[in-house]
Amino acid sequence: MRAAQITNVSRRSLLGGIGAGAFVLAVGLPSTGRAQEEEPGFGPDAMPNGWRDDPSTFIAIAPDGTVTVTCHRSEMGQGVRTSIAMVIADELGADWDKVRVAQAPGNEEKYGNQDTDGSRSLRHFFMPMRRAGAAARVMLEQAAASRWGVPVSEVSADRHTVTHAGSGRTLGYGELAEAARDLEVPERDSLVLKDPSAFRYIGTDRVGLVDNSGITTGKATYGIDVRRDGMLYAVVARPPVYGGRVKSYDDSAALAIEGVEKVVKIDPVEFPTEFAPLGGIAVIARNTYLAIQGRNALTVEWESGPNAGYDSETYRETLSQAVSSASGTVIREQGDFDKAFAGAAQVVEAEYYIPHLAQAPMEPPAAVVEIRDGLVEAWACTQAPQVTRLRLAERLGLPAEAVTVNVTLLGGGFGRKSKPDFVLEAGILSQAMGGTPVKLTWTREDDIQHGYYHTVSVERMSAGLDATGKTMAWRHRTAAPTIGSIFAPDPTQKLPFELGMGLLNMPLAIENIRAENPAAPAHVRIGWYRSVSNIPHAFAIQSFAAELAHAAGRDQKDYLLELIGPPRRVTPTVQGDVWNYGEDPDLYLIDTGRMAAVVEAAAEGIEWGREMTQGRGLGIAGHYSFLSYVAVAAEAEVVDGAVTVPRVSIAIDCGAHVNPDRIRSQMEGAVIMGLGQALMTEVSFAEGRAQQENFDGYLIPRMENAPKRIDVHLVGGDATYGRPLGGVGEPGLPPVVPAITNAVFAASGKRIRRLPIADQLRS
């Protein structure tokens, strides 16, 4: 989920702004051994503003020993505030009971990259945070050694205490904090990180979530909860069609409502709209209810613009046409597809449709902005605080230094809150009120009707099997509007990062492969949605693999393992994937052995092959995404066309398990979200407008829909922590949908090629 190059360009200029802290020695530079001027490399080095590992930036120790860890990544349910604290506490030798977590504001010069997306918080910051903790530990040891006048080699720090081996003397971290703070930060290369066998928190379920108490008592603060003295409340009436404008409006009835303070017109920008507000008419009032009442009282005439005719049902046919002929750019070519296909003993073709989706985080977008003496302060549930800061400054005509973006807890993000349009709206309105604090809230209707939608796509798959049922030829045509359409005028081709989400880098061993990408223009705002293009790609590829198994008369799991082939490690560029989630292709290879292992684990977890009663069936799917391997096996029951999923087994290999409980919870959540996408979740459009408005029409799973049993299997694990980490927040989701629809086929004989299932199976 990385904003393509396009967005990175302007941000990269900030690299020059890195300042060294007062006693920072060799730390704080964006990479090891790489000169700053060089093109950024891979992983965290390739991110805008890179990474930092300066202990003073991330760790503060008070005289009473309280350790405050500053988390610079946004918490949206993935548990990052707890995980980062675990990592630092372990290397620091801190007592968990004395660890607190503070949240960093948007400031990438200080903290390194803060875009919390792409499943990369631990992937990119596990090592820097370990080093920060280890450096602080060494500084505490040095402070104690010099106080005692003994060689530092004779002292050791652990459990919040530094001990002198010879004399048994001890000093607490709090007593040493001040002296340690004035020491030079040790050279990065001199740091000795803990042996993983010595970890007390990393890799264990020993600690609870740092926000457990705040959340369960209602004290935790989300973006929508921020309160400031004299604050006003706002909602905005936005153009119903993407690209629309206000033609005329009458606000007299709105202003007649007691408590409505002001009506403000927000101007839209020209295409591409990137992260800019959509424009419209804002109503500012004394509370949210009055603002909503005021909005209801507005009369607005809209000019619909170029997308007025967008109809998702018609567009499905348009995409279907696009993939029906060889009109697309060839994006992968291996062997000779045409020849192998022509010579096939059996040919299978299928087309899959995946609709638009809205992230619909339970907390809708909301932010507070106030402006005093030319200084802007924002509080926002944002996944991208630095981008928010830059765009807010730009829109308000102020330098970035004048803008502070405080990051609250996020009531879910799923990619929606990577876009700061809502914070800009709050800023514009505060400015219009002379700097008065304004809370801008998106109602649920706003969220579902004016979103950054998951793209819509049609995937056409064709395969040729030989006489033994082996797949000899495989062609994948994909047509879907690109996220690039919010960054550049009218691109119609998927970008490398979208193609690199499970299409080009699929771990299947087939001799003759072709992939093509016909054009598909966008008619709504397209944005990241958890797992992004992996969703359609996994659905198509893993459904089709099951269709091929069926055509070959084989067991689905056995056939999938055969398609995956023998264990091998493939450089992603060999398969045409130049993106590789921004990671080094020599470090992160496509490892089919790991893929097969999670398929086996998921299958075993659901007792694959067991006898099923009438109307029940098992399905399986595996998908490699965000550098992690995930497989899902699902049991479905179909009765009178209604689908239930009583049991799911999900297996993940994401490298080492830094916070196993949060890996499990992400997998559980992915299963539920995927279940929704399989059964019920969809945003459709007619006359350019989203047809769903709220959770009565935009359906997501409720507890009654949730599987009675979800087993999560953590595979691999790499106890040495030597293998680079994969992602966790997103890779769980993509294989869930095809596992369920494959199970539906096993249960009912009906193949689902269009999502969601909705009432397709009812006669």
């Binding site: 918490e75 349910g77 609870g208 979530l209 926000d211 457990n212 108490s213 959340i215 369960t216 008592t217 209602g218 004290k219 935790a220 603060t221 989300y222 929508i224 909860d225 309160r227 409340y233 007691e258 408590g259 509370n287 949210t288 209810y289 009055l290 009442q293 619909a360 985080p361 339970m362 907390e363 809708p364 807890l409 996020l410 009531g411 879910g412 993000g413 809230t441 109602t443 649920r444 409980d661 919870s665 992400q666 559980e668 959540g669 992915a670 299963v671 539920i672 979200m673 709220n694 959770f695 009565d696 997501i700 799973p701 409720r702 507890m703 009654e704 949730a706 599987p707 009675k708 979800i710």
Partner: protein
């Protein structure tokens, strides 16, 4: 003018009596623990107890609450140790946590008022509350644990 009690303290509201309790709590009185999720009784994020009954604050006009006793997540337990809250923490139920005030208020009423609970009982009541993060399996487990602990 409407008089009512929130978390044992007397409160008064002097505005439009159609104002949903949700916005009175959040915007006027500062009880932001009660969340907005849909405004149409479809998500349960705004669940509070009105005279002991779990209710959706988003569709309850404040004008109907003269003399009512309202409990929000902030007032569920003075120490934050209702068996449901304890179980929630022990099982690390929350992900983003946004829906959880509503989930906990719904679950607390269920646990307090039940002798025993089957999975079906739990599903039937708790299906009023949406969780986009998908914490349902842990909510089920935590409710069972709270039933044992109470």
């Amino acid at each position: 003018m409407v008089n009512f009690v929130v978390n044992s303290e007397q409160q008064r509201f002097d505005g439009d009596e159609d104002t949903p309790l949700l916005w009175v709590l959040r915007d006027e009185l500062g009880f932001t623990g009660t969340k907005y999720g849909c405004g149409i009784a479809a998500c349960g994020a705004c669940t509070v107890h009105i005279d002991g009954q779990p209710s959706f604050a988003c569709i309850t006009p404040v004008g109907t609450l003269e003399g009512a006793e309202i409990t929000t997540i902030e007032g569920l337990s003075p120490t934050g140790d209702h068996p449901v809250q304890v179980a929630w923490r022990e099982l690390n139920v929350v992900q983003c946590g946004y829906c959880q005030a509503g989930q906990i208020m719904q679950a607390a009423a269920l646990v307090d008022n039940s002798e025993s609970l089957s999975d079906e009982d739990i599903d039937a009541v708790m299906s009023a509350n949406l969780c986009r993060c998908g914490t349902y399996p842990r909510i089920r487990a935590a409710i069972k644990q709270a039933m044992e602990a109470k």
